[in-house]
């Protein structure tokens, strides 16, 4: 079975590095990284990851705008998206829920356990 490919889209390089480290330490998944919404869309269209971890707040193009853009392309519309956000407020949760994201993971997190959370949220059988 081909291994999973995860795309992390976050403008904070340290978050990208933490995600990559934790996932690669515990799985054989491939982790791709993009530092902005527009780069994330480009990468998603070419790489077709199995899931996108998307930071909710980024400059220029935030998580929600990126999510909408991903949905506008047929090649990325079906890719599950999990939002990453620091301490989601109720209004944010409702916003994400209404969008139709596959889940929300709040920062801070221990990325050693990210794969478990992703598997659980997306109901992957491995």
């Amino acid at each position: 079975m081909p291994t999973k490919r995860i795309l992390i889209v976050d403008d904070e390089e340290s978050i990208q590095i933490v995600v990559q480290f934790g996932i690669q330490m515990t799985t054989d998944w491939v982790v791709l990284a993009a530092s902005s919404g527009s780069k994330g869309i480009q990468m998603a269209r070419t790489e077709r990851p199995d899931v996108i971890l998307l930071d909710a707040s980024m400059p220029e193009m935030d998580g929600i705008a990126t999510f909408h853009a991903l949905h506008s392309y047929p090649e990325t519309a079906e890719i599950p998206v999990i939002f990453l956000t620091a301490k989601a407020q109720t209004s944010d949760q409702k916003k994400f829920s209404d969008l139709g994201v596959s889940g929300v993971i709040t920062k801070p997190f221990n990325s050693l356990y990210l794969p478990d959370r992703i598997v659980k949220l997306l109901d992957w059988s491995l």
């Binding site: 403008d11 904070e12 390089e13 340290s14 978050i15 590095i17 933490v18 480290f21 934790g22 330490m25 515990t26 799985t27 707040s57 999990i82 990453l84 956000t85 620091a86 301490k87 989601a88 407020q89 109720t90 209004s91 949760q93 409702k94 994400f96 829920s97 139709g100 994201v101 596959s102 889940g103 929300v104 993971i105 709040t106 920062k107 801070p108 997190f109 221990n110 990325s111 050693l112 356990y113 990210l114 794969p115 478990d116 959370r117 598997v119 659980k120 949220l121 491995l126």
Partner: protein, 519 residues
Amino acid sequence: MKILLVEDDEVLITVLTKSLTAQHYIVDVVKDGETGWTYGATFEYDLILLDIMLPKLDGIRLCQRFRAEGYTTPILLLTAQNSCTAKVNGLDAGADDYVVKPFDAPELIARIRALLRRSQVNSFPLLTWGDLLLNPSTCEVSYNSQPLTLTNKEYELLELMMRDSQHLLSADEILDRLWSSDEFPSEATVRSHIRRLRQKLVAVGAPADFITTVHGRGYCLKAQEPQGEDPSEVTTSSEMEPLNPLSEVTGIIGDRSSEQQAQYLAFLNQLWSTSKSQCLEQLGILLHVLQSLQSGTCNQQLQTQAQQTAHKLAGTLGTLGLTLGMQLAHQLEGLLGSQLPMPVQRVEMLSALLLALEQAIQNTNSIHHAPAAAIASIAPSSSPVGDSNMGTKVMIVDDDIEYLRSLPQLLEPWGFSVTTLADPLEFWSVLEAMSPDVLVLDVNMPQINGIELCQALRNNLTWRRLPVLFLSIMTDMNTQNLAFSAGADDYLCKPVVGKDLANRILNRLKRVSAWVESY
């Protein structure tokens, strides 16, 4: 914090006592060195203010005696002697600081605060515990950016618990630390203060057990949830998922060995060495915004950007394991959500928070704990009680906006569609527009209270059968009786666990549908 003042000048005693008690210090006054020794050796003090020229036993010899007997209480010497020799003698005798009379009271208070910080586990100028923030220099307290109005004793009690958060405080210890030696209150006084403090904390959204009672032993602040875990989200998860959420992946991904954990911690430390400067740069942006707020030139766009920066900084610091920094950044984020122009006190609090955050970042050279394993994750479509609740409309009316914000979060995982209303004057228009299936009302609201609203509903042909639940901080039987007399179907006391509120709503709805079916 309790201070022993050893001074024989009556005028100075009056001035100092007034200045110190205004800063919420408890002050014991003695007028000679020997009594100073008796008090210092018998009672526990956080600091000793010691005049040098004293009858019976001068301040230098008293200081030497304290140090010789192993007392490490910070000692600040007060004296009219301004010579270098006098200062050297005083400091060599074991004093921690030396202030020459006449002195400025604010300077003395600041030196006292500095000495107290050095002697505490938490040496930052601000005290935090979860969402609770206490600023000893301004004596301001807030919970989740909501200011708390406390009496002097309540403030002192809270500060004591935050400074001594590592262990249980018995009623006797609290009496010793917070009342002067010539006062003799009882344990009932302590219980009464604790009760009132809890009520005030709950009123701003803190859990009811924020101050925990360990029966027979004492009181302490509730241990904080592991980072990244929100109790309501954990409740949700425990309803939705098996007890061991990792069970289906054990053996596939496997548990995390201590070696992996150690490697992760080493990795975080390595990353921190490069991320620290970036965090300080982000802090620089926040400092720039603070300056514009102080000069009144800040606009909404700048403030919003600052709020987003604080939000991201909280996420980064937390993920790297800097809990204090994360909490401070969250507090900043909350404050930066204030409307412009920002009140002066909020700007001052912002300034204190930024200073504390800068210190937290600068002073962190290594990370000792990685963030906790559990990650709060929300699958929006899950409903633990079943899909039958989908679409059930709940309308909640409460003038406490912060509390109101927390309620949908408690109920939506159960599939309810929640509408909240903070202004009871808008009640009827929102009721007509939403046509809820159940109504949750607070009791005490401005202009029109919940009981009056309930009475009006019961007199209205259209709405008289709408299930009404009261959710209030009022626990007395009189209020509950009034609510039921007005036509309430149920009465719950704040704070409430999401599961309990959801179950009470469901039970009420089942009763209504059973009643309807019987007709």
